[in-house]
């Protein structure tokens, strides 16, 4: 197995974009109090990149948050994305590659996420996001019970 990285990276230029997430309260603050962590914002950006099936290699990397801050559920999501991307579980043997896939989805996704914020007036982002999520949800067809 390749050396285990100790942090998840972002592209240095994405710093400005993550700052813009702070202009939208839904992405800045937790409902239950406190601020959303970098990890949480990263996962959201990753999800948006995944949704649009687009990854971008990082140009200048900088550490964003530590691997040790990943909870089992976080690692599961990152692994699932990597397995889906590589189309095989063998990718799990190379954790460096697994994290790289997540980083590249997030690098592509953050720009799309910022566009979503900038394309709608204050106070309406959450509602629009809710509509989009329900559109996906209805297609999944998972029933309760």
């Amino acid at each position: 197995m390749a050396t285990m990285p100790d942090r998840i990276n972002r592209d240095k230029k994405d710093g400005e974009l993550y700052k813009k997430l702070n202009g939208e309260e839904f992405l800045k603050f937790k409902g239950s109090g406190g601020k959303r962590t970098r990890k949480e914002q990263f996962f959201f950006a990753m999800a948006i990149g995944f949704k649009n099936n687009i990854k971008r290699p990082l140009n200048t990397k900088e550490g964003f948050f530590l691997i040790k801050d990943l909870l089992p559920i976080d690692e599961t999501l990152i692994n699932a994305v990597a397995i889906n991307d590589y189309d095989s579980v063998e990718i799990l043997a190379n954790k460096g590659e697994v994290f790289k896939i997540a980083e590249e989805y997030a690098h592509a996704g953050i720009r799309l996420l910022v566009d979503k914020i900038e394309s709608i007036e204050f106070g309406k982002f959450e509602k629009k996001l809710e509509q989009e999520i329900f559109e996906i949800y209805n297609k999944i067809g998972l029933k309760n019970g």
Binding site: K51, R111, D115, S119
Partner: protein, 61 residues
């Protein structure tokens, strides 16, 4: 509104209109991101030519 912004709609339609031509699809998406990342003056011509040369070599019309 204005330059430097990309949205999901554009990416989606590029994919549909490329009709399984993955090379052109990825090329255009790459250009879109490059343009969004470089607002203002930048050496776009070299960048475009390099990408066109690389992609067209692999591409089947």
């Amino acid at each position: 509104m204005g330059d430097g912004r990309i949205n999901e709609q554009i990416l989606n339609w590029i994919k549909i209109n490329s009709k399984d031509d993955k090379i052109i699809e990825d090329f255009l998406k790459d250009l879109i991101y490059e343009e969004a990342e470089h607002t203002g003056q930048w050496r776009w011509k070299d960048n475009y030519r390099k990408k066109i040369k690389k992609c067209s070599d692999e591409w089947e019309n």
